[in-house]
Symmetry: D2
């Protein structure tokens, strides 16, 4: 049993962490902080946790997080970078679900996130927590930058192709669609039910913060700079990301075999039969990425479909997967829930 | 470990049974039948089960169900009554998720269901599987009639009141709202997305089949005939039932204390603080009924709000709860999933 | 042609007023105000109006509203009561879509709305704008209090019964369900898509502000105090209200004939054949109330189903209907759009 | 006034035709046929039309369609090709909303639609009814092939680019998302609410019937064969198509000016300011296509966003637009409804 703390537990990644960790066999939830809601039982805000999580939200100052074995930051961008240092120095392992440590180049991070980085020296130490790419480094990491939701779906979909150099990496296209929970539990007009329901739109086409993160990951995998057009869309569902990926084949291969081989040992990546159409509900509430390959009309364009639950494999589930790796647990511990369908 | 068979597994209660049973520590899934889809892997129809359920659908004739310890009927009404006899005689315990054995009066059953009952003698033996009312009888039952979804939500909401004789039982009102999965996985026009989405309507107001079932249960609890107006509605969500119940107080009492006391020992009924507003998502994908009491403006009308997931506490979860009771397992075995929110 | 002004046009009733008025043959839109968005073209905020509404939002001070023939307040509660006086004095007719002038008893208004009323003398003058009850008074009104959405659906459903004294008016029940646009275009957590979608809940059961408004209207119609239990619910759709009404019959009558006769001359109330089930989409985006009667199992309880679009017959459409009456136009002018289905 | 007949009016394009035509100032609805529902009032099936459409469905044989000026086929594919001949010979002008006359090469049509074409000689005569490309031919056409929904959104989005030869037409990508009404009013499992809600998936990636139609239209516009990857998706909304289009620039130009100039005179194409994000609800229930251009990070890839209501500009609205052109009416007659938002 390890002692776990969560900083900022009132958002969707926070409650999802609680749902998963409360059922994890090797975890003792020690504290969950919230500046604004200190003293309130967690189960009052999230009645789904009644009888299952007995904690109250506690003020960050009173949380004694240094006594935890691991602390998750489920905070907005810009919080973890100010607080991770002292925890790491106290020997606490840290997993940041926000973006503070995802981009290796501090200048690029500052450009996209519009603030000064408070701990650039920690960026260098942080391990990017995509287990399918970085499992070994994650084992010993003191600080893990948990990937974004789009970046998880897009990178897992493209990785085998860019690693093997079989496609034109100067013109990759990622057309991605996300459920509305991806925008977080924030009071905003554009994600109101009456705005986002029965509606579909693209957003952030000129430039979305997940673009540099995806580009960085794919460039490392390709061992050369990758160029990507990334268009995110908002779709009227709660959970789920569907990434539709397009690449031009430059060298022929058995792409289906390539994917199956690449992900054979991965517990949370499921390569479907060739020409399948995964739907997002097939991964709802579970820590899985399902991928299918297409070659429309046998042409030069390869289409990859990649689906995840943005709150699980795209956030809290992947964070727990990283925790399992860091502490030498069974990588699937606490992550065996079957997707909820319908 | 017990051997479990499922007859008719291609509907929503079928896949939900599979989701729950595949994670149950004392169950071995032996067979799942489908006349039309024999030979097809279950996970092809329900990709959410990929890697978790390895069975193929099998023809009912080839299923060797007599070797099972328990068989679930997840079939349309009218199937179980023709097949339960031979299974029961073979020593197999049977749980019918359809309506064949719910109504004790065969004539009334035939009136509401529009067919001749094939096994009236089994009706007498069958135990109505609402654990909160019939737990002791369920333990030794050979045949359990698993309650309907509306009847579960409405009876659990009204039980303490009618048992204690504190309200006028000649004018109960149950205004109930169901998600669309309650209509089953059948190709029909009125439950198409483009018909049922962004829309709300009542249906079956002149008389719904769940009315006699609710009336029977409440009359037994009241030890006298109960009169009920039951109006079901279709609401554009996948899962969930919200029953809004109205009763006229005839004798004063501490109703909140009454409910808390009545359900104190029940693992799957959660009485919320007085004047709460439970939402259906707080029980999504979990075997829980949450109940809240109101007394608007301190008047004579008591309002009870009762929510369940129609596919879990309203169907497959309650069926597994009954199985646990029948086989002496921990009543919560396999039923500890935390609701999925958001 | 009359000159029309709108105060506070950035909410859902504002944009709906614009949609209707821009197609009205006798209306010239003169000004639409917004303190926060002055200078911004209306069509930038609501692209649905591109090419159809050329106005910019204008600061209230610069709007020259005194030169309008009629001004609509599409503002939050508490604004119109401070500004209506000067407009009325300037000879401008005023229609308030908020609640400021709906409740005749200022003390009761202050109790439910939690603020001091700024113009109690105007309450006395204001005409409650339910044309089916008050058409003649509306014709000459200088100030119309446009009814709330729930009150419109509930009153139209109950009016024939309470006017004729055929039911027990001490125990009326109104179980009402509203789409999420009824909560307005405000940045709040509980109406986010990820909160309100795939979910159903009651709210305000201890007491909702529309209760006194409904009670007042029905009491006037009954010529005696009426007691009502009113339970509103939030249902995951954008537009629409479905009121399910319950009354105990005290004297028999041909209720269907009663309703058909009562509403025969009403252009915007449609009495369906007995035992119909109106769905909310059958009135989507149109100024209609559809009503159906039921007598379940021939018992003593009469069930009335009443549906409207909360933004049209429940707000902007009814306001334009009132305007048509006030200015002697054809009552249907600008209100002939056919509901959008599917 | 012209006399209008509709063949096959029980689907979504049928009821949408009725909604539009019932408000058209120059149309007299003469007959609407349905083999299965003859004798039933149209308004019984579609209560939204109560009081607005007085017709009953009539058997095709009894419909006297030869006396109509124009007949719309709102039928499944394969019906119009068998019946159009006799109508055209009788001097009735025909608009087919299905696919029978869209593909100029009968062999290709038969390959994609899996049946023998019954009237190949009519294919040659038929005019493809995309007014923005073929307005002059439509004026005098006896038989119009109304475009498919995806083809309308994709062609309008790509036309200016391929006409002007500024992009690589060997690698166009159209990633398109459709609301569920696009699948029609057919009893099928995969479009049930409980399947399609809170879910997102691609379908038909190996080859969708709209691909050859789009390819044909763009090839004509480009005056050379165009290669296109077309991936349709199902998104949980009722109405709307959002096409996200990708093209590689081969020659620089002021693309925004190009689009604005190309569509300046078009009443139903709205080019938004550069880098806008049109949402589908901004065209809901209206005959408009809104288009926005992007050049992410100033790179080589041009992104075009194109939205329509699949039932209006993608079907019934465009059909009425074609009718207006054919009969010399104002092209906007009956098509001036403002989109319904929210």
């Amino acid at each position: 049993m390890i002692k776990v703390g969560i900083i900022g537990g009132t958002g969707y990644t926070g409650v999802e962490l609680l749902r998963i960790l409360a059922q994890h066999p090797q975890v003792e939830l020690q504290a969950i902080t919230s500046r604004g809601d200190a003293g309130i039982p967690v189960a009052n805000m999230f009645p789904s946790l009644r009888g299952r999580v007995a904690l109250d939200f506690v003020d960050p100052k009173a949380a004694a997080l240094e006594t935890c074995d691991v602390v998750f930051f489920a905070t907005p961008n810009g919080i973890a970078m100010g607080q991770a240092r002292s925890l790491v120095d106290a020997g606490v392992r840290v997993i940041d679900l926000a973006a503070d440590f995802r981009i290796k180049d501090p200048a690029e991070w500052e450009r996209w996130y519009g603030m000064k980085h408070a701990a650039p020296e920690l960026i260098a130490e942080a391990v990017y927590g995509l287990p399918e790419a970085n499992r070994e480094k994650i084992r010993s990491a003191r600080l893990v930058a948990n990937p974004g939701c789009y970046p998880t779906a897009v990178q897992l979909g493209f990785l085998p192709l860019v690693e093997s150099g079989l496609v034109d990496t100067t013109h990759l296209i990622a057309d991605a669609k996300s459920g509305v929970s991806g925008a977080g539990r924030k009071a905003e007009i554009h994600t109101l039910f009456a705005e986002a329901s029965d509606n579909f739109k693209a957003y952030g086409v000129p430039g979305h913060r997940h673009l540099p993160e995806i580009r960085q990951g794919l460039s490392i995998a390709a061992s050369k700079p990758v160029e990507l057009t990334f268009v995110p869309h908002l779709t009227p569902m709660i959970r789920g990301i569907h990434a539709t990926l397009y690449a031009q084949v430059t060298r022929e291969a058995d792409f289906q075999a390539l994917y199956e081989s690449r992900y054979k040992a991965e517990p949370f990546v499921d390569v479907l039969p060739f020409a399948s159409h995964p739907d997002t509900r097939s991964v709802r509430a579970a820590n899985v990425c399902r991928i299918a390959l297409h070659r429309p009309q046998g042409g030069n364009t390869l289409v990859v479909l990649s689906v995840i639950d943005n709150l699980v494999k795209g956030a809290a589930g992947q964070a727990v997967q990283n925790m399992n790796i860091m502490f030498g647990f069974d990588e699937c511990a606490g992550l065996t829930q079957i997707p909820v369908l319908p």
